[in-house]
Symmetry: C2
Subunit: 172 residues, 2 copies
């Protein structure tokens, strides 16, 4: 069990990181004002884009399952993405109840641009620090996955399997 003071210190830094990140995003957001471009990749429309960029051509139902949302919420977000020309809807020919959702070229570009960007502040770290950071984050993420898995195995199955692995592919 690690030293309490160190833990508090680290916890504070982590919160500070969240805060300053949020501020920087906010600034960028107001600077370019890229017409509603900015939204968390882990919710709503962003989540869908992320899931599709791993497995394109899912049905709405599949999306809803993987992302732990209701079919109605999913439909709403998909429609909004269609309006923004990021995805397309198309009736399945096999089962005409199903609607297949696909990324448009624009959507694909948006999604990969979103997650392929490497924050500038990483340039200020040494190779050693990067290694340390990677090792530490791996541990932290695994702890969090465990936590999620024990509390709700389904989520783990659905979301982690369907998106987390994707991130690894992208960055490794």
């Amino acid at each position: 069990m690690p030293n309490l003071t160190k833990k508090r210190n680290a916890a504070g830094k982590l919160i500070e990181y969240g805060m300053v990140q949020h501020m920087a995003d906010d600034l960028a957001h107001r600077r370019h004002a890229n017409k509603g471009d900015q939204q968390s990749p882990f919710q709503g429309q962003g989540k869908i884009l992320l899931a599709l960029s791993q497995t394109d051509g899912l049905s709405q139902k599949e999306l809803a399952n993987r992302l732990n949302m209701t079919a109605q919420s999913t439909a709403e977000f998909v429609n909004k993405l269609v309006k923004k020309n990021l995805v397309s809807k198309e009736k399945s020919t096999v089962d005409r109840r199903k609607t297949i959702i696909r990324l448009t070229d624009h959507g694909r570009r948006t999604a990969s641009k979103e997650s392929a960007k490497i924050p500038a502040y990483l340039d200020d770290l040494t190779d050693t620090e990067l290694d340390q950071l990677i090792a530490i984050l791996t541990k932290i993420n695994n702890s969090l996955y465990d936590e999620i898995h024990t509390e709700n195995p389904n989520w783990f199955e659905n979301f982690q399997r369907s998106v987390a692995d994707h991130l690894r592919d992208w960055f490794l």
Copy 2:
């Protein structure tokens, strides 16, 4: 300039961290369903609570300035917090145009509980790793502060000075 592969890897881990964090929050949120309890400390109502827990008894105008929001937004969030009994409004006797906002006891407890919580996953790190993490986050946060400062010195003045230092006090 550090190794590109390492940077990509670290960037991926960071994104993954954000994602899995979000998931864990979501889970906790649905589990307890603590009546609308959950909101980001870096926006809207949470931001105000955070600012007040450093400097209590600010006027709405002051809050708006420090948090880079319009007076109207500030008023809205303050009113919501009043309804939740987290802050109180009170006309200034010195300048009767001003409204002084103060944390209630409940508000104070809520705010400190919010930021004093130490994530469980830090227990899985060794003392050495904690030290490394602290050092790295310090660097990263400073880079981000610089970035914000160069792009908009006002924000830096307002928000960083009024909240970030507070976090340090809390955790050190």
